[in-house]
């Protein structure tokens, strides 16, 4: 068994841990850091419930070894709200009923965040395309699309105000 030291920044905090080489990033996040907002749905790289941002790109954390994330910056659902205020995406999922059981929601929000950072005003098709790596068994997706549209509008409006 090979043990290694891994260091990564998760939601702005730097962590160093001694881990087994085969530890998956999702287990590192959930079990070593006790950040259980990132879910395991399928365990087979299909559902996207485990989606996190790694250096700004979405990855399925059930299919990345924690060691590959050494030195990288990770963002999970716990890092999305700032200073106790919900992110516009979280607010959108609330306002538009973008969730039922909520199991897929953390992954959906991370994928939507990645989408909006590259494309602040996506069309409906672009939203559906951008979220196509994330499965939802409850909502039928329409409400999720509306939630992302809500966030995109709110974020654009906020940006205009700032400018």
């Amino acid at each position: 068994m090979s043990k290694h030291t891994v260091t990564m920044t998760v939601n702005g905090t730097k962590y160093t841990r001694e881990i087994e080489s085969r530890l998956l990033l999702v287990h590192f996040i959930r079990e070593d850091l006790e950040l259980t907002g990132t879910h395991i749905g399928c365990d087979t790289t299909n559902c996207g419930a485990c989606t996190v941002l790694m250096d700004g790109f979405t990855v399925k954390s059930c299919t990345v070894f924690a060691m590959t994330a050494n030195g990288k910056s990770i963002e999970t659902i716990e890092g999305v709200a700032q200073n106790g205020a919900l992110h516009p995406l979280q607010e959108g999922f609330w306002e538009k009923h973008g969730l039922q059981c909520g199991y897929c929601t953390p992954g959906m929000i991370m994928s939507a965040k990645h989408l909006l950072s590259n494309n602040p005003n996506p069309t409906e098709d672009e939203i559906r395309w951008g979220l196509s790596g994330n499965l939802c068994r409850c909502t039928g997706y329409n409400k999720i699309v509306e939630a992302v549209q809500y966030a995109a509008e709110k974020m654009s409006a906020e940006q205009e105000q700032d400018a």
């Binding site: 090979s2 990855v59 590959t68 994928s111 790596g133």
Partner: protein, 287 residues
């Protein structure tokens, strides 16, 4: 599900990686995007004792045109192809494929080199690279060598590289003028492997096809060129009848296995239909 145990290395240079491969031989596996290897390890379909993670090696990633070729670094992520203006504007066959491989999250990790090295007949890049007549660079202890794509896929999940070689780049010849290409894939849903998919790259002179390569995904144990189909197309004045014959040849010469994606007859017939569609689109793009 966790994988079996292994010893982990994260070399920062190609030389170091090759030395590790040379030392550990058959026991060792390179880890690129991990999107095929990690699932296989979790299902215990693969149990390497040594993992050599190449994600920390600089210079293995990138897309550029050089000396009449499009050069793609092995560690280039699928999402980089999708976002590349160069690929979108000049290599439509590659651009088509980049958007239908897996899903957007998987594409942020999955690499072009890994897709080819894996030699999975269900993967999409093998057919694309066969249609482009690409070349692969493999680097080992004795230096670099070039492998023509026609010689690269030797068996089911088996490529022509030695255990101590690393795939470093893929070179696609820049198509001549009046060339066009297309990749058409039928999948059950986003993120699934193809039921069948067809890659076509051809060159036209007026209504006559003067060069063509056609390759098929997931309808044969080894990624394959549809050579009978190519013969039925090259040198012909292209009419609907000719295209029908080419499609029939492709459907007949592949060797699909029946599975949850369909029966043998269904897959042959879909291959015929997709071949026709891909040729029509490639010709449209050539003009």
């Amino acid at each position: 599900m966790i994988t079996g145990q292994f010893t982990y290395f994260a070399p920062t240079t190609i030389e170091e990686a090759i030395q590790l491969l040379d030392e550990h031989g058959f026991e060792a596996k390179i880890l690129a995007g991990g999107q095929s290897l990690i699932p296989a390890m979790r299902f215990r379909l693969s149990q390497p004792g040594v993992i050599i993670d190449i994600n920390g090696i600089d210079g293995l990633s990138g897309i550029r045109e050089e000396d009449g070729n499009l050069v793609i670094g092995a560690l280039t992520r699928e999402s980089m192809l999708e976002g590349s203006h160069l690929v979108q504007s000049r290599y439509p066959l590659l651009a088509d494929a980049a958007t239908v491989i897996a899903d957007p999250v998987v594409r942020n990790m999955a690499t072009v080199g890994g897709n080819i090295a894996h030699a999975d007949p269900a993967n999409d890049h093998p057919a694309v690279m066969l249609a482009y007549n690409a070349e692969v660079t493999a680097v080992g202890p004795n230096g670099a060598r070039t492998i023509a794509i026609d010689d690269f896929f030797v068996d089911f999940f088996e490529n022509a590289m030695e255990d101590n070689e690393i795939l470093t780049e893929i070179r696609i010849p820049t198509p001549a003028s009046n060339s066009g290409g297309a990749y058409i894939k039928l999948e059950r849903k986003v993120g699934d492997y193809a039921i069948s998919a067809v890659a076509v790259q051809l060159t036209m002179n007026g209504d006559t096809c003067i060069a063509a390569r056609i390759a098929l995904t997931n309808v044969n144990p080894v990624p394959m060129r549809a050579e009978n189909a190519e013969r039925a197309l090259v040198g012909m004045t292209v009419t609907d009848d000719v295209i029908e014959t080419v499609g029939e040849e492709a459907g007949a010469e592949c060797d699909p296995s029946p599975d949850l994606r369909g029966s043998i007859d269904y897959k042959r017939d879909i291959t015929r239909v997709l071949t026709k569609r891909a040729i029509n689109l490639a010709i449209e793009r050539a003009h």
